[in-house]
């Protein structure tokens, strides 16, 4: 089922304008809007929430036209980037705020508030003032307050940007869990890693419109414009499983290909990232400190902003960024067999 659809939206806020913004989010989907800051991503969220009216185009939620509905009647729960918890209300009253006008009496509020607070692991904070809480705790309060309304779609504005790096993993898995429980999520970010890890599908916002929309693979491996190519920045991003974590050298299995890496992390599902600058191409297998060495076939050679991007299919598509001189020296052309190698220390593992 389709949960949300933006149809040929154009909008204007001061000097800033966007045109032909169109995408749709399926029920239960984790959808990412990815783009540099100032691209208008937050504006799109506020448009869906009802704080802005579009100049043209329509917005549909569950097949119903909501373009002209007031904010209160849209089933879109917006989590602000800086959380916007009410400083004069307790954590309990913050979470109960959306229910106060429906139910009367505190007794009827206690059960739903406690249950959502327990789910978000903030039930021990209910009597605190939010001004005494950490950023991560405030975010959970804001999230509980939004979820208690059971919104059709949860709109997240850069939910990880304001948090310390150590806290991000926890919130990431929390968001994924909420999504797995059936909550449709539209998540705005400027961070391609966040997009790749969390999103089922990704829409890239640039030049005041949606430049591309698709799965990770489509967006990261087949960027449709040079801008996205540069913006996305990273090509070698593979999902898979970390197998061993007992030895110094771990093994990551991506689509049957075993990649060696230094990851002192527990085994489990996750992602690896390898910068295309770190991949070395050679005619013979290298006898070097690089523990990863794969034989494959060149499937594409494309000019990049600097040098060339050479795609080598060795079970997974490895993309190496090399200079024009090297392309000529090695006599690279599509269809040719080649060795691709990189050090275990060049591989970065992201749990999730």
């Amino acid at each position: 089922m389709e949960m949300l659809r933006l149809d040929n939206i154009s909008l204007k806020a001061g000097e800033f304008s966007m045109h032909n913004v169109a995408f749709n989010v399926a029920a239960g989907e984790y959808f990412i809007l990815l783009g540099p800051s100032g691209a208008g991503k937050s504006l799109i969220l506020e448009l869906i929430a009802g704080f802005y009216k579009p100049l043209g185009g329509r917005i549909y939620m569950k097949d119903r036209d909501i373009t002209d509905l007031p904010v209160q009647q849209r089933e879109a729960g917006l989590l602000f980037q800086d959380f916007a918890v009410f400083p004069h209300l307790s954590v309990f009253d913050n979470i109960a705020y959306p229910l106060r006008h429906i139910r009367t009496g505190k007794n009827k509020l206690i059960k739903p508030v406690k249950s959502i607070a327990a789910e978000l692991e903030i039930d021990h904070l209910l009597h605190r003032s939010p001004t005494t809480l950490s950023g991560g705790e405030q975010q959970r309060v804001a999230l509980a307050r939004t979820l208690i309304k059971k919104p059709a779609i949860l709109l997240l504005d850069e939910p990880l940007a304001a948090l310390d790096v150590q806290l991000r993993g926890g919130i990431r898995s929390l968001l994924r869990r909420i999504n797995q429980n059936g909550q449709t999520i539209l998540h705005v970010t400027h961070d391609y890693e966040e997009a790749a890890i969390l999103g089922h599908r990704i829409a890239v916002v640039e030049n005041n419109t949606i430049a591309q929309c698709g799965s990770h693979d489509e967006v990261f491996h087949h960027p449709r414009s040079s801008f996205i190519a540069n913006f996305v920045g990273i090509r070698n991003f593979f999902a898979g499983e970390l197998l061993t974590d007992t030895t110094e050298l771990s093994v990551f299995n991506a689509n049957g290909v075993s990649i060696n890496l230094l990851a002192r992390q527990p085994a489990g599902k996750g992602y690896v990232v390898i910068r295309s600058e770190d991949i070395i191409l050679s005619r013979q297998e290298l006898d070097s400190s690089a523990t990863n060495s794969f034989n494959g076939v060149i499937t594409a050679i494309e000019p990049a902003r600097t040098g060339f991007e050479v795609t080598v299919d060795c079970g997974i598509p490895l993309i190496a960024l090399i200079s024009k001189e090297s392309v000529q020296k090695l006599g690279l052309e599509t269809g040719k067999a080649i060795w691709a190698g990189f050090k275990a220390s060049a591989v970065r593992f992201i749990a999730g």
Partner: protein
């Protein structure tokens, strides 16, 4: 050092005359003044009329302040200028203006007299004169308070399903509370001490500032002084009480918003 000296001079300039007036009044004179029915009635009248005027006008002025803080509209600068007008015009002129507005010959006066109300020489007329000169204090303070409330808190509340009225009552007003109450106290205090506008609209019933003037012009300084000191004391007590109340009630006010 020089600054401390200059500051001391300014403070002395304010305290000196007041202290002189208080010291020149014996406790006996003060009790005598307080015992007079006429004096007590006029002090009481001044207090309740000013408080009533502040309450009634606050009902419209506080939401209006929110509008000024939040919305952009044409001629907003002009509207802000108009609000400050009562502060800069002479209060006797303000009194003349209010009197012209509410006299029996005016449209409002005719309308009021048709239902049996006569503003002139009536507490209602006094309230209007007081409000006319003191309302800018409330509007300006409340507007500054509302401006300091982050817009996204109001947006978040709307997104959580609250009506505009509920957002105003549960988010905007509590967070701007300190400034609103402070403006309220200022309006009340300013209305209570008004003389120029009130004496033109209503010489009788006599509010305390008018009574002080009347005793001075009819009997001289010594006779006016005890009433002046008494009223000064009452004003101070009220002012301090309201300030304390503001600080206590405002513990969740603007100070905590980021």
């Amino acid at each position: 050092m020089v600054l401390i000296f200059l500051g001391g001079l300014v403070l002395l300039f304010i305290i000196g005359p007041l202290l002189g007036m208080v010291l020149a009044t014996t406790p006996a004179q003060l009790f005598e003044a307080a015992a007079e029915e006429e004096v007590r009635r006029s002090v009481w009248l001044t207090l309740w009329v000013s408080l009533a005027a502040t309450f009634i006008f606050a009902l419209a002025a506080v939401p209006f302040s929110w509008l000024l803080a939040r919305k952009h509209f044409r001629f907003k600068q002009l509207v802000s200028g108009i609000i400050d007008l009562p502060i800069v015009i002479p209060h006797s002129a303000a009194g003349i203006a209010v009197l012209g507005f509410i006299s029996r010959d005016s449209a409002l006066g005719k309308m009021a007299s048709s239902v049996g109300i006569d503003f002139v020489g009536n507490p209602a007329g006094i309230a209007l004169a007081m409000a006319f000169v003191s309302i800018p204090f409330l509007i300006n303070a409340a507007r500054d308070g509302f401006s300091a409330v982050p817009v996204r808190l109001e947006k978040a509340a709307l997104n959580l399903g609250a009506s505009h009225f509920r957002v105003f009552m549960t988010i905007s007003l509590p967070l701007a509370w300190r400034s609103v109450v402070s403006g309220f106290v200022m309006m009340f205090a300013r209305g209570m001490s008004e003389f120029g506008a009130v004496i033109i609209v209503a010489y009788h019933p006599m509010i305390a500032p008018v009574m002080i003037y009347e005793r001075f012009s009819a009997f001289g300084l010594a006779y006016a002084r005890p009433v002046a000191v008494l009223f000064l004391a009452v004003c101070l007590v009220f002012f301090i009480l309201l300030r304390l109340l503001t600080n206590r009630m405002g513990s969740h006010g603007n100070a905590q918003t980021r």
